[in-house]
């Protein structure tokens, strides 16, 4: 660092002279060629200006010399140059001559219309300056409340707000067209009057002069229909700065929709992504400070472009050397390292590799046996073999599906009644089959149908509403955080509100109705500022009747989509290397530069070429020397955190750690044991079913007799809805159909669009169930209740709405909250209907009969029949249709406790339920929460917090999970002799053999302990608390 500092200082002092000296020394041997960003200039207005950028090619390498070269005007009355910023001075023709290192370049200039007025344009200049001077940022006047009573739209997203604010509000004192210099909007930022925001304007500089002239000209606030179409930043897309050429002048041209072009270099806003490495001044001049890469982002109105600047400095004694490259990943990573003068680390040993790879591909640590086998294997390509082996396995599919399920918010609270499990299983299957990512995206984003039958349709159930879907889709497949653009244009990116709402339009007609994803015939999104109805994204003009999602997905998945493949491979890279090439992985924007552009591009190309298959990319990366690099650093790479010169230790994720503790303690069986267990249980289940089968007919008779003898029973719950209305009151009043007449569960409503669905899962009277009930809509629930005699029953009911029994209101006033109510039953089958309305998007529901008890006092004698079976059997056996009989036959084995147990075990095994890294939905426990398991509430991977916290330390040292695992695990190890115990423990927990020091420390501890069990437990506890165990390395 230091030499560069000194050099910068010298540059500061001697400025051009020293650079000139430094360069002229090379003059004798160097080939120099001059080039400018323009060959001629035609100014057609008195205010026309251009930023000239002069590049000197020294031995073919481009260097910016705009501020070093001599730039002379042949006629200062026609044209002037101030360090290359060229302005008109009067009508006529002239030439600019550029001189550097004896080379000369000439640019002819003509100026016309100098006498014509060219007023400042509010929309294109005043607005740009308000952004440039930071007036409209979120912490100043752009905050929703404004500041000190003066409010602007954030980053100028809405000029209509700003012109009102400037010219109408604040008693019109902000602008004084009679005495322009007295305007508050000038005096405050000049600090002539108190201004909390500090000095923002200086007399004589372009922003001040422009604002002053705008006011003096009458503060015109016209908003013409013309827009800025795009900007072009020169040079682009990247430049390298190397001493002595450490600056780069930028020029910015704005192209408008009326065909005009203006130089906006002095009114554009410039930002650097890392001010420690390179800075940029208000006029677009970049200065490199330290070795590294930055993005200089250039904003003009809602347009944003970035230029990537790499600053290079020589590291003393640096000599390139690298382990053998395995594939193009190494070639490209090394090229970047070499350019910035870092050395790649060596290759990690087998023990480190086997643990690293298992954790990355399966989420689990290898068993002791797997580690030993790998370490002892002699085959030279054993690492490749292991990669292939793990990619083919079940654990890989489950673990990588978990990462996706995190993003797609698969949780039991959002996806009920088996949906979470089914959606997860679909994600697992996609991973197992290595479904092409294009197909995956298409299936997911165009899913339709019943979420209970089409697992991937749950994507739309988990993520409700066009806005959330917009944000999710953008984050998932475009790698972009579009949510900023919901309320204002994105501060650092070209994402605008227009983009947000056109992506919203794609999903505006995708509705979920009674758990069924379908297309509505209407539904639009409206831009909240312009009030325009948005066309679906991608310029697709989907006619009515066409699923708008289809053309969007086609745009998304075409091979030249700039995001899709890059975002996908970057996610894979980040999972494997601990940091994305673009990082965070969902923050792709031109102002957040990739650490290695060629690498990202090459991986994306490979992904497309290979048919968008993830496993191929994973295989490629895992086989690279880059992936297999060691943690060990040297002076030549220890400061590198971005370029993948060495491995970085990562705290295990919540799921990885929980499973690792279980596997190391021996309380969790290796996942490889599952297939065999599953087969065994499946066979057992079939066997049990077969055993039960002969008794079916007899059981039916018994059950029918049982039901017939009951004095009281309740049938299964049915539900229909939601029925929408204008407001809650209307919804409460209106009868949508089910309130009148006799109940018929085959009836349809709302023009055949809604029908009753049975809900056998609402069977337990104790829990409070949540039913989906959107605001301003109603849902009906109904069931049959049989009573032998007319009687009044006492019921605890929770909900919000009305209750009818046999078509008559059962309550005087609507039910709110939970209450005990009385319902009068007639003899025979009664029909109960409940109507729910909700203030939230869901309603709570509970129905417990307190008296009589459901089994009518003779519970012991009754068969435990589920309501749907009771309802069917009540029709009596003789009348049962084949379908009804079939339905009961399906349920029949479930009546058997042994059968249910085997089934639960089997399901758990199939879903890898015991493994936190493999389960279909997260398990909520303090340990997992402390270690940052996501709640699955947002799509952002940043929801996962992986840096160490004190809570984690407490969980490790003293948490219940750890305590119990260690306690149970002791039995597993205690039977071994000390030497074997220590070897086994290290191999299992850390995938390596213990060192001599560890063997002796552990052995001594065990030998000296008065109670061996406690000592074993303490040793286990200690190893599981070493940082080597807690981190992946």
């Amino acid at each position: 660092m230091r030499p560069l500092h000194l050099r910068l200082l010298l540059i500061g002092v001697f400025c051009v002279g020293s650079v000139f000296a430094a360069v002229t020394q090379r003059k004798a041997t160097s080939e120099v060629r001059l080039e400018a960003n323009l060959t001629e200039l035609k100014f057609e207005s008195r205010r026309a200006a251009r930023q000239l950028v002069v590049t000197a090619y020294v031995d073919g390498e481009p260097h910016d010399v705009t501020h070093l070269a001599q730039i002379l005007s042949s006629n200062e009355r026609v044209v002037k140059s101030d360090h290359g910023y060229v302005t008109a001075a009067g009508d006529g023709a002239a030439a600019l001559t550029v001189k550097w290192l004896g080379k000369t370049l000439s640019v002819p200039v003509t100026v016309v219309n100098y006498a014509q007025p060219d007023p400042i344009r509010f929309k294109f200049e005043t607005m740009a300056i308000l952004t440039k001077q930071s007036c409209s940022t979120g912490s100043c006047h752009g905050s929703p409340q404004g500041k000190a009573g003066f409010s602007l739209s954030l980053f100028g997203y809405d000029p209509t707000i700003d012109r009102r604010s400037l010219t109408r509000d604040g008693f019109n004192r902000r602008i004084d067209t009679v005495e322009p210099e007295e305007s508050l909007m000038l005096r405050k930022p000049l600090m002539e009057l108190d201004h909390v925001g500090g000095k923002r304007l200086r007399r004589g500089e372009t922003p001040y002069v422009t604002l002053l002239n705008w006011i003096a000209e009458g503060a015109n606030i016209d908003l013409p229909a013309v827009e800025c179409d795009h900007i072009v930043v020169y040079p682009g897309p990247d430049r390298v700065l190397k001493a002595p050429y450490l600056t780069q002048q930028l020029s910015v041209l704005a192209y408008y929709t009326d065909g005009s072009v203006r130089d906006v270099s002095t009114i554009a806003t410039y930002d650097t992504s890392n001010a420690d490495l390179a800075v940029v001044d208000a006029n677009g001049r970049v200065t490199g400070k330290h070795r590294g890469q930055v993005a200089i982002s250039v904003r003009y109105l809602s347009q944003v472009q970035s230029v990537y600047i790499t600053t290079i400095e020589d590291v003393p004694d640096f000599a390139w050397q690298a382990p053998a490259e395995v594939n193009f990943v190494d070639t490209l990573v090394n090229a970047k390292l070499k350019q910035l003068q870092y050395l790649p680390a060596g290759t990690c040993d087998d023990a480190t590799f086997v643990r690293r790879l298992y954790l990355d591909l399966t989420g689990l640590i290898p068993t002791g046996e797997q580690a030993r086998r790998f370490i002892e294997r002699k085959s030279p390509d054993k690492r490749s073999q292991l990669i292939d082996e793990l990619l083919a396995g079940d654990a890989y599919a489950h673990f990588w599906a978990l990462k996706q399920a995190d993003l797609m918010r698969v949780s039991k609270t959002r996806l009920k009644d088996g949906r979470a499990e089914a959606f997860s299983a679909w994600l697992v299957e996609a991973q197992r089959q290595d479904m092409p990512y294009t197909e995956f995206a298409r299936k997911l984003l165009t899913a339709s149908g019943d979420t209970r039958q089409v697992p991937e349709a749950n994507f739309f159930l988990a993520i409700a509403g066009p806005e959330e879907r917009t944000e999710m889709t953008a984050q998932l497949f475009l790698g972009s955080r579009l949510e900023c653009a919901k309320c204002h244009n994105h501060p650092y990116e070209k994402w605008t509100m227009k983009d947000y709402y056109s992506l919203g339009a794609v999903f505006a007609r995708t509705v979920v109705d009674q758990g069924v994803v379908q297309m509505a015939s209407t539904g639009e999104t409206v831009h909240p500022v312009t009030k325009a109805t948005m066309k679906p994204w991608g310029g697709v003009d989907a006619p009515d009747g066409v699923d708008r999602r289809e053309p969007f997905v086609s745009w998304l998945t075409q091979p030249d989509n700039p995001f899709f493949a890059r975002v996908a491979v970057n996610r894979i890279w980040a999972h494997l290397l601990g940091r994305g090439i673009v990082d965070p992985v969902d923050d792709f924007r031109s102002s957040n530069p990739p650490a290695n552009v060629p690498l990202l591009d090459a991986l994306a190309r490979e992904f497309v070429k290979g048919g968008y298959r993830s496993k191929q990319i994973i295989r490629l990366i895992c086989n690279s020397q880059t992936y297999q690099r060691s943690l060990e650093t040297t002076a030549f790479n220890e400061s590198d955190e971005l370029l993948f010169s060495h491995a970085r230790p990562r705290l295990l994720t919540a799921e990885q750690l929980k499973d690792a503790v279980g596997l190391a303690a021996g309380t969790l069986a290796p996942v490889e044991a599952l297939p065999e267990q599953i087969d065994r249980n499946r066979a057992e289940l079939e066997k049990r079913r077969a055993e039960l089968e002969p008794d079916f007919a007899a059981w039916m008779d018994r059950a029918a007799a049982d039901v017939a003898s009951r004095d009281f029973w309740m049938g299964v719950w049915y539900a229909v809805g939601p029925f929408a209305g204008a407001n809650r009151g209307e919804v409460r009043e209106e009868d949508f159909g089910p309130e009148k007449g006799a109940l018929d569960f085959t009836a349809t409503f709302d023009g055949g669009r809604r029908h009753w669905r049975s809900h056998p899962e609402w069977n337990d009277p104790e829990p409070i169930y949540t039913i989906d009930c959107p605001k301003e809509s109603a849902v009906y629930l109904a069931r049959e209740i049989y009573s032998r005699e007319a009687r009044t029953i006492q019921v605890t009911a929770r909900g919000s709405g009305m209750i009818w029994c046999n078509g008559k209101p059962a309550l005087k006033q609507a039910l709110t909250g939970e209450k005990r109510i009385s319902i009068e039953l007639a003899a025979g089958i009664n029909q109960l209907v409940m109507k729910f309305t909700s203030r939230q998007d869901e309603a709570q529901f509970r129905f417990r009969v307190d008296d009589p008890k459901p089994a009518d006092g003779a519970a012991a004698a009754r068969l435990p029949l589920p309501p749907q079976v009771i309802g069917l059997l009540a029709k009596s056996v003789g009348q049962l249709s084949t379908d009804d009989r079939q339905a009961i036959h399906e349920i029949y084995p479930q009546m058997d406790e042994a059968y249910r147990k085997i089934q639960a075990r089997l399901t758990g095994q199939q879903q890898h339920m015991e493994y936190a890294t493999q389960r279909p939905y997260p398990e909520a426990m303090p340990f997992m929460v402390a270690f940052g398991q996501p709640k699955r509430e947002t799509a952002c991977t940043c929801e996962r917090v992986n840096s160490p916290t004190l809570l984690q330390a407490l969980e490790l040292l003293n948490g219940t999970m750890m305590h119990q695992a260690v306690q149970k695990g002791t039995a597993h190890y205690a039977s071994m002799d000390n030497e074997k115990l220590i070897a086994e423990l290290y191999l299992t927990a850390l995938s390596r053999f213990p060192t001599a020091a560890e063997r002796s420390a552990g052995g001594q501890f065990l030998a000296q302990a008065p109670k061996r069990d406690e000592a074993v437990m303490d040793l286990l506890w200690s190893v599981l608390n070493t940082r080597e165990f807690l981190f992946q390395h």
Binding site: Q145, R481, P584, L950, L951
Partner: protein
């Protein structure tokens, strides 16, 4: 001690890019060393170093407590008579007869209001509003004020969490948030019924079957085994974890941790002074934790149905949720469950012991005790509720939610003693004073008292700047 070992880390160049999140994870909860905390020394204006918030949840009736309305129409008037306090001209109702004697240490603000009707007019939203100081439902879920304070100011007592809720129930899971801050700043809940003689704080002591001596042996073994690996390569997170494990060990083994929570160490007379029920002991623990140096303590208590009063099992029949949500039978002398009643069931009348009786006793004891111990010098005490109750009694003899006007009380940290701020109309329904203050103003007051610079934004993971209590302004009368 141990904590200093990670101070040099902060100077590492590699650390600079981490910004707030980076600092924060090291800080963990309660872990920020004093060296850093000193960087945020309160400004001249701020006099508080600690904050104790008494959050009485459910919507305490202002008319029956801080803001008596003897001239309201008879049918809507509170049966509880106005009484004089030790401050001339300041009256409370007789439900605050003990607090009336310490009124000379309080500023009572009768002009609190929720500016946007409908935002905080439910208990979950209203509670979240109180916890975070921001109207819920904005673009970004805001962290609690207490989490923000912990993240900025760190702790004064390393052996304790810096942000504690006494006792905390499952209800706050939905209303208390750490938002975009690292999870380590989430509030630590003591849980339990503090009147239960067997109550102990969970998770801050060693497991029952791991004796301190054995724990020490384990740690010795661990430090023998945990070598070598730590020194290879780039070790920022690894070093951080090491420091945190040492701090956690301190928390688990330092006797002062247990002592801070050990109510039995208080003399019997002190415990009785606060009231030997759940509420009194919660308030007492609040004082103890402030005394131990905890940065931010929130007391949110409801008397459990099965409780202990004076060490005896006590059952409040019908009381299933003993907060202040008196929609029904507010003046009942026992429970509020009435035939065909509404959502006000499950409580006890406002004048009963488990409600205002215990509150008056505990709050007056707290103020007096803290004053005597000098704790009011640098602790801001706030008595808050999410909204008030309707000036009219409804047809179920209850009072419903009322966001237009309600009362807060403040003490300590330079809050003027014996001051009354704001006034309401004859019925207590609308503010008549020229000033009216919001929950955002309350939040701004806390930040200002602590010397936290509200012009400096916090940043979310997506780097969105978040201003603290951006819509609020500190309540000027609390800074005289």
């Amino acid at each position: 001690m141990h904590s200093h070992s990670h101070v040099p880390l902060l100077r590492r160049r590699s650390f600079i890019g981490l910004g707030l999140g980076g600092l924060a994870h090291l800080a963990g909860f309660g872990s920020l060393p004093t060296a850093l905390a000193a960087a945020a020394t309160p400004s001249r204006k701020g006099r508080a170093k600690q904050v104790l918030v008494i959050f009485e949840q459910g919507g305490v009736s202002q008319i029956d407590t801080w803001d008596p309305k003897p001239d309201a129409p008879t049918e809507h008037r509170s049966p509880f008579k106005p009484i004089s306090t030790v401050v001339p001209g300041m009256q409370f109702t007789e439900l605050l007869s003990k607090t009336a004697k310490v009124a000379d240490r309080l500023t009572v603000v009768r002009c609190m209001t929720q500016p946007t009707p409908g935002i905080g007019d439910s208990h979950p939203k209203g509670s979240q509003y109180i916890f975070s100081g921001e109207a819920p439902g904005g673009a970004v879920e805001m962290p609690d004020i207490s989490s923000v304070v912990a993240s900025i100011l760190g702790t004064q007592a390393e052996f304790l969490p810096s942000n504690i809720l006494v006792p905390g129930t499952s209800e706050q899971a939905a209303t208390s948030h750490v938002g975009f801050l690292p999870p380590g700043y989430a509030v630590f809940k003591t849980g339990g019924n503090l009147a239960d003689p067997k109550w102990q704080v969970p998770n801050l002591g060693l497991m029952a079957d791991i004796a301190p001596e054995r724990f020490k042996q384990r740690r010795d073994l661990l430090s023998n085994l945990d070598v070598g690996f730590a020194h290879s390569g780039n070790v920022k997170d690894i070093d951080a974890m090491h420091a945190l494990l040492q701090q956690a060990e301190n928390m688990l083994t330092n006797p002062r941790t247990r002592e801070a929570f050990d109510l039995a160490r208080e003399p019997e007379s002190m415990r009785t002074r606060y009231g030997m029920g759940h509420r009194g002991q919660c308030y007492l623990l609040g004082r103890k934790l402030i005394e131990s140096g905890v940065r931010f303590v929130t007391v949110d208590v409801r008397e459990p149905r099965q409780s202990w009063v004076d060490g005896k099992d006590t059952s409040y029949d019908g009381g299933t949720n003993m907060n202040w949500d008196h929609h029904d039978a507010i003046y009942s002398t026992s429970h509020t469950n009435i035939p065909n009643g509404g959502p006000g069931a499950g409580r006890w009348g406002i004048g009963t012991w488990p409600m205002m009786g215990s509150t008056d006793q505990a709050f007056s004891a707290l103020i007096e005790d803290m004053d005597q111990r000098g704790l009011l010098d640098e602790t801001l005490v706030c008595f808050v509720t999410e909204f008030g109750r309707t000036p009219k009694v409804n047809d179920r003899q209850g009072r419903d939610h009322w966001t237009h006007s309600f009362s807060f009380a403040f003490a300590g940290a330079g809050v003027p003693r014996g001051q009354l701020v704001g006034s309401t109309d004859r019925d207590g329904g609308y503010i008549t004073s020229s000033m009216a203050y919001t929950i955002e103003d309350y939040a701004a007051t806390i930040y200002e008292k602590l010397g936290i610079d509200r012009t400096k934004p916090l940043h979310t993971a997506a780097n969105r700047p978040i201003m603290l209590a951006s819509k609020g302004r500190p309540i000027p009368e609390l800074f005289v």
